[in-house]
Symmetry: C2
Subunit: 247 residues, 2 copies
């Protein structure tokens, strides 16, 4: 059997990779990935064969990696953040039955919710939902229904892909839904370019978040009814005591 | 200012720590943590001063770490998994205003949802919720309401603390709620002792999950309507196409 490793490289900085991910990449001759993510690691792993594909070529990228592994070459397919959370591991495993000589190993990594959360403080210290606002593969009505459900049930919400050039108003839509059942002063946070050049973070109210312009490299955090701002930090307590923002 | 690092060490295996976490622990003289987690890392970081506290002494543990840092000693407080997701970062930041000489740095890590998900395949490749079934700090009615909301909205559900000696029936209660709006054949998975001695994993139906006995070192995954079993893997597709398990 030939191994294909699907590797979560974390948010981008070398030191935020796990030791396991580093060792796997050191041992693979071929590394496949989206151009932007390859550029984040290339300097740390010289003398590799890099195969890059542009955005939205996910299936082609997975097939290239599977074919390279099937040919007997130790291969890694890299994903930013975790390999599972909106990563390539699912698609690779869906395609795997067509490659009987390949065995897949999924290597987890620090997804943006965790890396961004650590920069903001501790927004995710209680029950949470991660929802992508991208409607490329999920109907918008389903995204709306998910937002309504988790907002009403008081989960901390972390939004991936809050907007893009084509979807400028998705974050506003999401905030409007959450404002239907959370106070306008709910503590929120945004982190841009986590662990990379141009890193920015901001703690703001839900009302102010609704007016923010973001991009696809931004991760958004919406606190629950208990989330507080303590100095420069966004902090969600571990349980329920008093409710500073109840309606 | 004196730094206190709140460090997520991942599921337990040394190689699943981030390089950043390893470097921080190497540079700290004092490492504070719950006995079980200290034992996971002790051999890799010799010549440290270790301060261990038993379970449920979370506030005492955080205060010890804050006091040690305030005294000028480079100190790390470790958490299993991530430092933020049900970790100690929140409690430390809540206590921080009492320690004006201390600056806190939160170091993220691979939480059980990601580490366990990688072992099962790719259960978390679409929108997900992480919910703890521990009712020590959260009223059971709130936990039930969260489960009902995310079950109805078709999020993949990852359950932490599915049961303990005192709470043997919590997992069954959770499955019964989810069975109210998901098919009994929904693909589920459980992972026990992730990355540690005694690691076990199993893929099973929601109906079978309801009858399982678990413990506090088990992480539970409940698929959404699209989640499939592909060979030995639990895989959630990246979007919505057909619905294999709709009611």
């Amino acid at each position: 059997m030939n191994d294909l490793y699907v590797v979560g490289i974390g948010p981008g900085a070398y030191e935020k990779m796990t030791l396991e991910a580093i060792r796997v990449l050191e041992n693979c001759q071929t590394i496949v990935g989206y151009t932007v993510y390859i550029d984040l690691i290339r300097d740390h792993f010289p003398d590799k064969t890099y195969i890059t594909t542009p955005m939205r070529q996910e299936e082609a990228r997975c097939r290239m990696a599977l074919e390279k592994a099937a040919s007997g070459c130790p291969t890694a397919l890299i994903c930013s953040g975790d390999s599972g959370v909106y990563g390539m591991a699912g698609l690779v495993l869906e395609l795997l039955p067509g490659y009987p000589k390949v065995r897949v190993k999924v290597i987890p990594g620090v997804t943006a919710a965790l890396a961004g959360g650590a920069l903001l403080g501790a927004p995710l210290a209680h029950d949470l939902a991660i929802i992508s606002l991208s409607d490329l593969l999920t109907p918008m009505e389903k995204i709306r229904a998910k937002l309504e459900a988790v907002a009403a049930a008081d989960l901390v919400i972390c939004l991936y892909n809050p907007s893009s050039k084509k979807r400028k108003d998705h974050l506003k839509m999401a905030c409007t839904i959450v404002l239907g059942c959370r106070h306008k002063d709910t503590v929120c946070g945004i982190v841009k370019n986590i662990g990379r050049k141009g890193q920015e973070l901001k703690i703001l109210t839900l009302e102010a978040l609704a007016e923010m312009e973001t991009d696809m490299f931004t991760t958004v955090f919406i606190g629950n009814s208990q989330t507080k701002k303590i100095g420069p930090y966004m902090v969600t307590p571990r349980g329920y005591t008093v409710a500073p923002h109840t309606r």
